[in-house]
Amino acid sequence: MTAVIEAVGLIKRYGPVVAVDDLNLTIPSGEVYGLLGPNGSGKTTTILMLLGLTEPTAGQVRVLGDDPSRNPLAVKRQVGYLPDSVGFYDELSARENLRYTAELNGLARDDAETRIDEVLTRMGLRDVATRRVGAYSRGMRQRLGLADVLLKRPQVAILDEPTMGLDPEGALEFLDMIRGLKADGITVLLASHLLHQVQAVCDRVGLFHQGRIVLEGTVDALSERVLGGAYRIHLEVDGQAQALEGTLSAVPGVVRVMRESPRGYLVEAKSDVRGAVAHRVVAAGGALLSLRLERLGLDEVYARYFQEVRHEG
């Protein structure tokens, strides 16, 4: 697999403020990469440098083999960009907006109309294509944004906060569309601060903090590394509840036991100790109502990681 996006030692300073600090990033072809981190951590600045819309202070960028700050047109012909809270010309219809994009890409008129129909159908906007974009909902705008990206048939799609402001259902739907891009062989770079939403679609993620990627890898590998393969088991037990905390702590591998509610317990362990825990509860005369292994997500990884960083500091 060849690297589609490659950044080495990328730095961007705005006066004394360092927005991106010595960033190294390699994204192979066909991957969905999540650039995750809180607002203001340098995600958008990184994206703008990848597109040649902002000049790096130092470092090297290659997108599809071209340097975006020297040959931006070649890069922008093959890279689609969906900006954070994308805007359209409200007084024009969706079709007219897309037509403008097609003209800016230098598409021939017939070809443009075919492609516009194609992307509008794909994004489910065919029926509202003649309506003014000003009357569109947030979700429709976001889908129109993706249609705008797909119009140029990009090899790379860069999506900045694509699910922000969408309702949960709309967000899931949108994530499905992103999976569709991967199926088409488009390399996707996704920037977001909504970790739990995007972790499901990303092949690999990079956690961004103060202009640096502090953690990188698959979601599973990261939680393994940061949380030390922690297992959290939620229990619901009826009767004789007093004595259970001691009993559970005695199970080999259990690190911590916490009482969440009168009937609920949280057990943290180094391994999957569900069997042993259930056995002990029953042996102690308790009625086990439920037992659930919690899968830890990126939110916990992120929170835990920075807890540790802060402790060290």
């Binding site: 819309l53 290659r62 931006p72 403008y100």
Partner: protein, 325 residues
């Protein structure tokens, strides 16, 4: 990859890629906008009003004046205390129309959040800025050309005379000068639209500059000239007048007025103070077109230079600006 970048490597690809796409889109926006219709209506109404009044006056002198069609533009009427003519209204309304077309050119894209999306298409910023400027200029040129033809047609219809070749030539040059004058205000408005994020601020700033040159500059030049060159003898008086003229020529309004004077009033022989001794032995009558053009040439090039300077300033400012809000 090593961090070795040859200094000043040129960017590749033409800066004009997408220029026509931007120009045509903006032109379409302008021509269909309520803002432009309002201004067109205003210009048309004042034009019809002043021109038909001028024609009414001119009908009494048909046959005596070789430049009847130029007089349509310049003949002034009195309404109460105010003298007004077509060119006077035009020099008043043109800056307004140009500012209206340019004040939200760039900050409007920021506020609609379309700028980063448009610039992520395979075009340079050059094309966006130049396209917007050209679209504004074309819009004004179309309006002015239509206006000029309309007025000329009205003249033919009402006066029963057709314009001579020289009058058409002078009229065309008048049209070009007016477009250049409009270009100054358009470029200024666009400069402010890059500088200020709020369209209201940039509109106010552009209007303030216009008001300054229209109202305060003539007063200021008078005061400054009086202070710097007090008129205690005839030579000092001449020096004062010349200083005042030189200062007032920093204003685009003066430049435009002088170009109009020499183009539309062929009998104009000089655009500054003329001494009696200089007139001695002079042949009375109108100047030919080439001589009138020569007379106004510095003012003409001055206006075009102002357009280029303002546009270059806008360009530099825009290139240095960050895309994100």
């Amino acid at each position: 990859m090593k961090a070795e970048r040859p200094p000043l490597r040129r960017r590749e690809g033409s800066p004009w890629t997408g220029l026509w796409a931007v120009t045509l889109k903006e032109l379409g926006d302008h021509l269909s906008s309520a803002r432009m219709r309002l201004l067109e209506g205003l210009i048309l109404l004042t034009a019809l009003g002043t021109v038909s009044a001028a024609i009414q006056t001119l009908r009494t002198t048909v046959g005596e004046d070789p430049f009847l069609f130029l007089r349509i533009f310049t003949t002034s009427q009195q309404a109460g205390d105010i003298d007004y003519s077509f060119v006077l209204f035009l020099s008043f309304l043109i800056p307004l129309a140009a500012i209206a077309l340019g004040f939200d050119a760039v900050n409007g894209e920021y506020n609609r959040r379309t700028l980063s999306r448009v610039l992520s298409q395979p075009i340079y910023r050059d094309a966006l800025l130049a396209g917007k400027f050209l679209a504004g200029l074309f819009t004004l040129a179309i309006t002015l050309l239509a206006l000029w033809l309309l007025v000329t047609g009205l003249g033919i219809f009402r006066l029963g005379v057709i314009p001579s070749g020289e009058e058409v030539g002078r009229g065309l040059l008048f049209f070009i000068a007016t477009v250049a004058y409009a270009g100054i205000w358009l470029a200024l408005a666009m400069l402010f639209s890059v500088q200020f994020r709020q369209p209201a601020t940039s509109a106010l700033a552009a209007l303030a500059v216009w008001l300054f040159f229209a109202v305060f500059w003539p007063i200021l030049t008078g005061i400054v000239a009086q202070v710097v060159r007090p008129a205690d003898n005839p030579f000092a008086e001449l020096a004062q007048i010349q200083l005042r003229l030189a200062l007032s020529r920093l204003s685009p309004n003066t430049l435009y007025a002088e170009v109009l004077l020499s183009l539309l009033s062929p009998e104009t022989r000089a655009l500054g103070p003329v001494l009696i001794t200089q007139l001695e032995g002079a042949v009375r009558g109108a100047l030919p077109l080439s001589q009138s053009l020569l007379l106004a040439w510095p003012q003409f090039t001055g206006m075009i230079a102002a357009v280029l300077l303002l546009f270059a300033g806008t360009y530099v400012l825009f290139q240095r600006q960050e895309i994100r809000a």
